[in-house]
């Protein structure tokens, strides 16, 4: 198999790699929608779609497949629904917008590896192992705004336009914090390649415990960067609690108000694909990518006092089932997206901007400075001093924050709500 792949034309191999990324996403999107609807209904104490299809056997007993096929029928419904095109739109841009929205969602995963860069996986993933891996992710996610803005503009509808404008402001604001948080990780990994990111995370934990892997989420700077990246990733994919561009109680449905039938379905699919791929990138950058657990199985197989063969087997499973582990992690983070949607109310617009510019960006920049000092200290003295530094920096930041908060006059917002006018009520 490896020899056959080796002998293939590079172009054919590239097509195979692209298909190996795109087809699973396309196949999984209906399943993800089903998973979201079921999980949301469970969290909200409802039942959700649980009966399509109902199969009846010869004895008249009914079986349900937990509503798994519901999404397919929903897709069919979207296909055969009436396709309404408003009269006063900018026709060309109106039709291009959904395609523009779909492109970044799929292109985003272009540098994301779902298997180790050894043996057979080297030929199958990622689509392009370029030197600028993480910059590619940032660049493509910054293109995501066009689909939304163009849809909002072309619809020639005030609410749609507002949705588009909100989206562009939101995406530009959160891109910065996202970029700086990823920069810190690129700094620590010493490379911009996604494959290198995962490889770096297989190093001994904090440089001291070779039996465990040093996933970036376990390091103090990686934890901060991970939290920032996750928040920004939710904001970039326009999901609750950052779904202001389509806030239904203010803007009807925001930028896709005027889109019906398949054109709406394309937006819908793009959103889920983007969420899924972002989850994959999060898993790659902060959670060790395709490694199932933060354990160096190979080290145990070589050095453990007993059960070396079992560890060897685990190492093999870690290698051969790499895509399965990766898929599991990605689905887990996708679930966190749904969890957030069920838990958090939508942010107000000023809160959204305040969070992006006044909290996430400064914290990300501070974290970036911290990484630099950490790396120098680790080089000179070892990771223990790095921890002391991280704790000291954390304490300092908290102290400064409390001092600033106490120095500022406390402003309580007073609002007067008159439910019944007493003059008229009498």
């Amino acid at each position: 198999m490896t020899d056959w792949l080796e002998g293939l034309d590079p172009f054919a191999l590239a097509v195979i790699r692209a298909l190996l990324l795109l087809v699973p996403i396309l196949v999984l999107v209906p399943g993800l929608i089903w998973w979201e609807r079921r999980l949301l209904s469970w969290m909200q104490d409802r039942i959700g779609p649980n009966r399509v299809p109902t199969l009846t056997n010869a004895k008249g007993r009914k079986y349900r497949l937990a509503g798994l096929v519901q999404t397919l029928f929903d897709g069919l419904k979207l296909f055969i629904k009436e396709d309404i095109t408003p009269a006063a739109i900018d026709r060309k841009i109106y039709f291009i917008a959904p395609a523009v929205a779909l492109f970044p969602a799929f292109a985003l995963g272009g540098t994301m590896p779902f298997g180790p860069p050894e043996g057979i996986w080297k030929y199958l993933t990622p689509v392009a192992d370029i030197d600028i891996g993480i910059l590619f992710v940032l660049a493509i996610s910054s293109l995501g705004v066009y689909g939304v803005v163009l849809a909002g503009y072309a619809s020639n509808n005030k609410y749609s336009l507002m949705g588009g404008l909100r989206a562009s402001a939101q995406l530009i604001s959160y891109e910065l914090a996202m970029g700086v948080s990823l920069l810190a990780i690129a700094f620590a990994a010493g490379s911009l390649k996604m494959t290198e990111f995962v490889k770096t995370q297989e190093a001994p934990l904090w440089g001291e415990f070779p039996s465990f892997q040093n996933w970036f989420i376990f390091t103090p700077f990686g934890f901060v960067a991970g939290v920032i990246f996750f928040i920004c990733m939710v904001a970039e994919s326009n999901r609750a609690p950052f779904d202001l561009p389509e806030a239904e109680n203010e803007l009807i449905a925001g930028y896709h108000t005027e889109y019906s039938s398949m054109k709406f379905a394309v937006f819908f699919m793009g959103e889920y694909a983007a969420m899924f791929v972002f989850s994959g990138i999060f898993a790659c950058v902060f959670f060790g990518g395709y490694n199932v657990l933060p354990v160096n199985w190979g080290f145990h197989a070589a050095h453990a006092p007993f059960g070396n063969e079992a560890f060897g087997l685990a190492d093999g499973a870690n290698y051969w089932l790499a895509p399965a582990w990766f898929l599991g992690k990605t689905t887990f983070f996708f679930t966190v997206f749904i969890w957030l949607r069920a838990t958090l109310p939508r942010l107000r617009y000023d809160q959204l901007m305040g969070l992006g510019w006044k909290t996430l960006l400064p914290v990300a920049v501070l974290n970036f400075c911290l990484v630099g000092v950490w790396l120098i200290l680790e080089d000179m003295k070892g990771a223990r001093y790095g921890w002391v530094l991280a704790l000291a920096a954390g304490l300092l930041v908290t102290a400064v924050w409390i001092a600033i908060r106490n120095a500022m006059p406390q402003k309580t917002e007073r609002r007067k709500v008159v439910l019944v006018d007493p003059k008229r009520a009498s």
Partner: protein, 168 residues
């Protein structure tokens, strides 16, 4: 690096030139802005074709991703769409300008472009245009121009805030 076939360049160059013409030819400002986005994007692809990965991705991130969004934002906010398109009167001087422009193009083609065909083709190394090459160059050899450029940008940011806060 593997050489890409020449038709890749030709297709990309054609799209880039066509969309660049579109920037000036379209009547609707939003479409002009979109053509410019397409030009930037195809230019980035051309840079990739040359092996300049970092330059290409910066082009997408900075121009296509950030600056053009702000541009579109402004165009849309000004509501320069539909009926109120930008109308220009045809200038009579155009009849003189067009032959002159053609003559200039001919001179440039003969004097400057033609010799390029006989130039020896120089090959760059594998690392050309990669972050591992550009980073050290920016922060050692060219650190002063780089820092001065960043200060210039900072002045730009501060200046725009000053202008925005001024009451007219």
């Amino acid at each position: 690096m593997r050489d890409t076939p020449v038709y890749v360049f030709l297709v990309l160059a054609l799209v880039a030139v066509a969309s660049a013409v579109g920037v000036v030819a379209f009547k609707s400002p939003v479409r002009s802005a979109l053509s410019l986005v397409l030009t930037f994007f195809t230019l980035a692809l051309l840079y990739f074709n040359l092996g300049a990965q970092l330059l290409g991705i910066s082009q997408i991130m900075v121009y296509a991703g950030a600056i053009m969004v702000l541009f579109l934002f402004v165009v849309m906010m000004l509501r320069l769409s539909g009926g109120d398109r930008v109308a220009e009167k045809t200038d009579k001087r155009l009849y003189v300008a067009i032959p002159l422009a053609i003559a200039l193009t001919a001179v440039v083609l003969i004097k400057f472009v033609q010799p390029l065909f006989y130039m020896p083709v120089t090959k760059v190394g594998d690392d050309y245009g990669r972050p591992s090459e550009i980073g050290p160059a920016l922060f050692t050899t060219y650190v002063w121009p780089f820092e001065i450029a960043s200060v210039l940008l900072l002045i730009g940011v501060v200046g725009s805030i000053m202008l925005a806060k001024r009451k007219f």
